[in-house]
Symmetry: C2
């Protein structure tokens, strides 16, 4: 990702990335389908961690609490590397095809979380709705974290966004500045 920041995503070739990493292009393609995937290499792992956290939540936990427990794990994992997340986001924001890939990854995560909720016995449409709600909160909290003041943690943004969503769903009036 250093190269994407230094030279720009368009200007960086797979050959450049392989050279910097000290591997051949063939080895690169054994690990990544294309140069976009370099930015999303952690997605599958993150999804596994979240699904595991969902499974580990107490059986008695309401669906939204179980999703929150999973997303708290994401906040804690991603929250360790704020500078990395900021740089990565600046590359993604500059390229439509990277934003598309990000949307696909988030949709896949929502779908995996809905599957996890169904395995916990949550019926439809509640499983899908809870997963969508959780991912929506995560998306907004993450965007605020990578663009906001550095002192505020991702976990703090998540807690704030969950609280706001609960209030909004309960019919809170328009907040005024």
């Amino acid at each position: 990702m250093e190269l994407y920041v230094e030279r720009g995503f368009e200007q960086t070739t797979v050959a450049d990335i392989a050279e910097r990493a000290g591997v051949t292009a063939r080895t690169f393609f054994r690990h990544f389908a294309d140069k976009r995937e370099v930015l999303f290499s952690g997605s599958a792992e993150l999804q596994e961690e979240l699904v595991a956290a969902l499974e580990a939540a107490p059986a008695s936990a309401p669906p939204l609490d179980a999703i929150r427990a999973a997303l708290d794990v994401a906040a804690s994992l991603l929250g360790e590397h704020p500078d990395h997340s900021r740089r990565r986001q600046s590359v993604i924001d500059a390229h439509v095809e990277l934003q598309e890939r990000e949307l696909v990854k988030m949709a896949s995560l929502a779908s995996a979380l809905a599957d996890g909720l169904r395995r916990r016995g949550v019926t439809e449409p509640e499983a899908s709705l809870t997963a969508e709600l959780g991912i929506g909160v995560f998306r907004v909290a993450f965007a605020r974290w990578v663009t906001g003041p550095r002192r505020k943690t991702l976990a703090a943004h998540m807690a704030e966004c969950f609280a706001s969503t609960t209030a909004l769903a309960a019919g809170a009036p328009t907040p005024r500045a």
Copy 2:
């Protein structure tokens, strides 16, 4: 879209579409950037209608009620053509690149609705959270409508999904079948 259903999306060329519509390929490209766009030609118009409905909601309406008013317009417009929506969805479901385009359109809609809420004086993160919540509900309701029994309307699915989301956000326990 008839051609996509008859021959498959991959097998249909721009020349085929232009011929069926009785226009030249040049005219086709004056209206659509590529053959994917044919399936999304109504998106910009739908987005405008939704933003207009959001603006027309009473100034005193809480943010979620204003978003609901906008999405009710979508339910009413799309709800008139259930067979078209089902056919279109079956084409999209079969092609990853069409699912990507659909995700981009939904993200654009969420962003336009958040903008509309900010113009109503809703602060952040509430504007983005309400838009995400509304789009999440819409996505789940729409998916249930195009795959579920034909007698149930999109508006009925939307009402059900909004009610479930409100209950989930209020901490409703796991619903059991």
